[in-house]
């Protein structure tokens, strides 16, 4: 029988172009608030480092560097990698170790430093997560994969680009209120809809940012939770899914099949459904990804996701708030940190600690994090429950 596991503390660095820091300092920024909350090194049994792409920094053995820098050099550590879903994959791995009884208290820390190279080189590295033999030779960048989904979706449901721009406007509205965000500024619908093209039909404001940053959480077995907090967030459901490597082989381009499978598994494990959710963090690496996520998670029927954004149901005071921290679009997307940043945000919202009441969601009892890797080859869905 698996032990109950809770998130008991979380920390987050400032996201952005962090030329002032390396991954060492970013990790320290994310761990320091956790340390200040009482989870000192002696209380941590082991660490998982979520670090997706060492080619950006050239740093190998990242978990050893991170552990050493944080004063955890004598504690077991390991690194997990699964593209953009590395954060929740790390959390899933750590959850397994704690639930099984191997450790009681673990630090799961995600970091990425992507701005040590130019945008074109970063785009090159990320395109290498496509099939190197059959896709990479044709220059299919990370946004290009999602543009292939967008073209098909817009054709199938006769949807104008403006719907996607409304998602970008929401992301920036909330990012502007998040002091940790990479690009904290509002954009108008006109700006978002008429921005420079990146991978048509997607433009600049449809795309998430190339970001440096770190985020981390502490998870603990039930018997240890009270040592750290009286406001734990229980890990209630975990679902993982996968999709075909080559995007041409997917049964659908208007849905991410692995995300639907991951969502179903998480809902089943948690014993809840989409109607029970009070807030959702989705993997909006591109605006189309957020729209598709509404449908894959069962928040809307296929083809009807646009109604959620057009009716502002996904705003903080709407029926089902989504990404009221700015999401990957405005807050930023440092690959290894992203899934843990989502977890951090859900804990923060549950505790009523959003910096600004204009992005604080009321009375969050159940939150969901949806984290997608590359163009859907990996997906993790976590469901968290307020424990007080």
């Amino acid at each position: 029988m698996a032990r109950k596991v809770a998130v008991v503390a979380a920390g987050h660095s400032k996201f952005g172009k962090r030329y002032d820091a390396t991954m060492r300092e970013l990790c320290a920024e994310a761990y320091k608030p956790i340390y200040d909350a009482g989870v000192t090194q002696d209380k941590i049994d082991a660490t998982v480092l979520s670090y997706a792409a060492s080619q950006f920094t050239g740093q190998g053995a990242g978990s050893a560097l991170m552990a050493d820098y944080l004063g955890l050099q004598n504690k077991p550590h390991l690194r997990v990698e699964s593209a953009c879903t590395t954060g929740t994959a790390s959390l899933r791995a750590a959850w397994g170790m704690v639930a099984a009884g191997l450790y009681d208290v673990m630090l799961v820390l995600g970091v990425e430093q992507m701005n040590r190279v130019s945008s074109a080189v970063a785009t090159e590295y990320m395109s290498m997560a496509g099939d190197m033999r059959w896709e990479y030779p044709y220059g299919i960048s990370f946004p290009a994969f999602y543009a292939l989904m967008a073209s098909r979706y817009m054709h199938k449901y006769d949807m104008p680009h403006e719907v996607l721009s409304r998602i970008s406007v929401k992301s920036h509205h909330y990012g502007a209120q998040n002091p940790k965000a990479h690009l904290p500024r509002e954009v108008t619908l006109e700006e978002a809809n008429n921005a420079v093209p990146i991978c048509r039909p997607l433009n600049l404001y449809d795309c998430s940012l190339i970001t440096d940053g770190a985020a981390g959480v502490i998870i603990a077995a039930e018997k240890r939770v009270k040592e750290f907090t009286d406001q734990p967030m229980w890990i209630k459901g975990i679902g993982a899914g996968a999709s075909a490597m080559m995007i041409q082989d997917r049964e659908s381009l208007t849905s991410i099949p692995g995300a639907k499978r991951a969502a179903k598994a998480a809902y089943d494990m948690a014993g809840v459904g989409p109607k029970d959710l009070d807030m959702v963090q989705v993997h909006d690496c591109f605006s189309i990804a957020e729209l598709i996520a509404y449908e894959d998670l069962g928040l809307a029927e296929p083809g009807k996701g646009r109604e959620l954004i057009e009716n502002k149901e996904v705003y903080h005071d709407g029926r089902i708030p989504v990404n009221c921290d700015g999401g990957l679009k405005s807050k930023g997307h440092p690959l290894g940190a992203t899934g843990l940043s989502m977890t951090y945000e859900i804990l923060k919202q549950m505790r009523g600690e959003a910096e600004n009441q204009s992005r604080q969601i009321d009375d969050v009892k159940i939150g969901l994090a949806h984290n997608v890797g590359q163009s859907g080859q990996f997906v993790n869905v976590f469901i968290f429950e307020r424990g007080w």
């Binding site: 090159e124 059959w134 990479y136 044709y138 299919i140 098909r152 048509r200």
Partner: protein, 139 residues
């Protein structure tokens, strides 16, 4: 007597990971023949080809793929390209679906305007340069 292997690459790649199976595929492509693979045990077909069957992991053999007409399943116009293709942007990447249901990802090279999902495509071949070969779509 060993014959010297011709140095060939697919598309805009300079990837040196050319296995004997892939080399054979490229040599056929050099003759403007696109090869699919067929599992020697269960008969499952793959395009692009793979050396091992995805279903039973048996070895596959290359067979010529003769369909030439496809429909555009989806597309992207890449304006901001990865560094290695920056000089080629903008370019159009398409997923074409053939009547058999097999699909192929390649560039459309003769478009004068933004493509439309569902439009007819024709499979064609090209030598990008002396060593780089490709299959492509034309409208």
């Amino acid at each position: 007597m060993m014959t010297e292997k011709k140095e060939l690459y697919l598309g805009y790649s300079s990837d040196k990971a050319v296995t004997p199976f892939f080399q054979e595929f490229l040599e056929f492509l050099d003759q403007e023949k696109l090869m699919k693979s067929v599992c020697t045990q269960c008969g499952t077909e793959f395009l692009p080809p793979r050396e091992h069957c995805q279903k039973c992991l048996s070895l596959c053999e290359l067979k010529e793929f003769t369909e030439r007409e496809a429909k555009l399943r989806s597309y992207v116009v890449v304006d901001f390209a990865p560094e290695s293709l920056a000089s080629k942007a903008p370019y159009v990447v398409a997923i074409g679906e053939f009547p058999s249901g097999l699909r192929l990802t390649a560039h459309i090279t003769n478009l004068m305007s933004v493509p439309e999902v569902g439009m007819a495509l024709k499979l064609a071949f090209d030598h990008i340069d002396e060593k780089k070969l490709t299959y492509k779509f034309l409208v």
